[in-house]
Amino acid sequence: MANLAVVTSVAGSSSSSRTSQPALEARGVTKRFPGVVANDAVDFDLARGEVHTLLGENGAGKSTLASVLCGLYRPEEGQVLRNGAEIRLNSPRDGLAHGIAMVHQHFRLVDRFTVAENVVLGHKSLSFVLATNDIEDRVAAITQEFGLPLNPRAVVGDLSAGERQRVEIVKALYQGAEVLLLDEPTALLAPPEVENLFVTVRAMTHTGKSVVFVSHKLGEVVDISDRITVMRGGKVTGSVRRGEADVRKLAELMVGREINIVPRRAKSPMSDVLLSVSQVHLERDGAEILSDINLDVRAGEIVGVAGVAGNGQRDLAEVIAGLQTPQQGNVTVCGTPTARSGALGARRAGLAYVPEDRLGTGLAPAMSIVDNMVLTRERGFLVDRKSALAESEQFIRQLEIKTPGPLTPTRKLSGGNAQKVLLARELFAVSGARVLVVCSPTRGLDVGAVEAVHALLDEARDAGKAILMVSEDLDEVMTLADRVMVLYRGKITLEQPGTHADLERVGRAMAGIAS
């Protein structure tokens, strides 16, 4: 109740301008992280009762802007205004006091608690003794008002991702939120749950609440949004209203750009097919993750798999690497079927794999470069560190890896240097690996490191390796790939030659729009 009082007093002080002033506004917001300008003088505004979508690829700066608006980050420059009056937010609690709440992509819920308990946890106005029935009634009232089917007594651990998201939304509403920021709300939802979410969003705007919808899924947001603002590289590149929303134009704003990086393509003719995936189906917990995947990669070729996060890319990579076993279909590495022989079987057949998560998966963070060099090779009863040491020293020189020495733990290396260690191991140190699967190889790296990593991959292609590159960074795919594929909801929906790829069609396919 205390929160509501604050909200009304803020609203009350500017009630005369209430209709004309935006519910929430950012003016010239700049937010820097070490090495990156995540938001560069961004202007953004949200009217009362409006759904305003922030659209952009990963790293475009949209989540950062949302975090600034809810009080999680403090901007270096610029202002945040609520109903026309400047507000200073030092924490998400301050944001809540102004009726602004963010629903994060990763839920912060207690599995063992009921829905009602989760909703009221940490709520300031809660009485010492919990009036459980009363709380459950109020939670039920909110769920009914906004079309969020939820049983307040259900245990959160038993709920699906979509239902958990509803709990987060109910929690924000219970705390008196008037402005809701939803960060990638559809990322974990099945299609029918997305529909439910849209019903809720409409119900909220009907009662005068405003919603910021942060997403990179172009296809989904057009219907729900009153306005769409596109961000790229920390800047706003354009904004359209409902009715003007032209999918082609949005795709262009999102991904269409002058490519100022020199493309690298295969210089020598490709030869045999080294990696072949046929009719792969993967299900998990009854949900279809991958369906009917067919692809071949030849020696001396890079095949790029584009797509926005969460469309099955990671699972595709893990199936090929032998870390997940598909229910149907085959994977062949250098002529050996490997789909059912595990990670070791895939490696023995000649596969190397660079996962997206460098430090937590590809490398053992507390162990030295030398120890990490032997991670994916055949080891006898004793571990041969002597040759690994010589190898490490050689790679440190050749690839200009910046480190105090080969015995330094990998967690002390910068992202770019850690990636060089990982690539060096998978590309060169593993004997006989002729096929490489690499995921988002340059995510989070600075420009110099990106160049170095791309040069390494190019070199490996020239050396006759077959490379499958899965990346959410379309620039990267367009720069390196000899063939481009798009993965959308577990299916390959588009395949084009890298040299003549139609960027617009690729962008639309990534957004799930059939062309």
């Binding site: 924490s91 998400p92 599995d111 946890l121 940490g122 919990l130 651990g157």
Partner: protein, 312 residues
Amino acid sequence: MNSNIWLLTFADAISIATTLILASLGAILTERSGVINLGVEGMLLMGAVTGFLVADSSGSLWLALFVAVLVGVALASVHAALTVGLRANQIVSGLAMVIFATGLSQFIGKPIEGDPLPVLIRPIDFGALSDTPFFGPVVFGHDLFTYLTWVLVAAASFYMHRTRPGLLLRATGDAPATVDAQGGSVARIRWVHTVVGGALMTFAGAWYMFARSAAWNQSATTNGIGWIALALVVFASWRPIRAIGGAVLFGFSLQVPFTLQAEQIRILPPTILAMFPYLITLAVLVALSTPRARRLLGAPKMLGQPFVRDER
């Protein structure tokens, strides 16, 4: 077979259960906040010996109990400082606490070894009520603190499940990051409950000294009751009310060997009977191992894990 002796065994089990309930209640509060304190046995001994020493010199039971509680606060504060403050390994710190407290209790208890108790905790005289069949010994045969313990369990259960700080406590053991994000202080919640839990443990030791023991007999005084209390926490699936039933069951199995001996009944050797509480608890642990049961009834998810805020 004399049915009366079984009744008395049962009444005795209820009485002995008081220590188990108090100690495991202390452990439940501690563990629900995500801290495991394995030092229960040492805390019981320190409570017993300091209670004895204070009562010996002052003649006051109340002062003795009060000082025992203070000792629990002090010892548990060391554990909290090491594990919550410095994020030291909770298992190692708890075991160090067992060794330190056991040694210290024996060191300062040396002069009073074998002495008669200076004060006693006696059952309340309910007059004629105490003579009623069954209810007499079972319900009306106990001392003030046994009844207070039952009330305390009800209060603790209410606190944990029906109050705002109780909600935060349970959330802290399961999802400290969520509590932190809501503006709660994980460190403060863990400190407070570890210290209160420790106070309950030493109080349990002091009560046991004055109500159930004949004399201070070094580490044999409590004879492993602290470890049983830790098993009881699992048996009760971290819920205070269930600890009562478990404590009576465990107390019964502790008492039965004596009764069998007195009655000259040989069904099972007492040493085998003494395994039962542990084997039953192990069975409960296995039964709680399905994913859903573990989520609902199992250990607090972050039990034993130091909390570090995600830095970005």
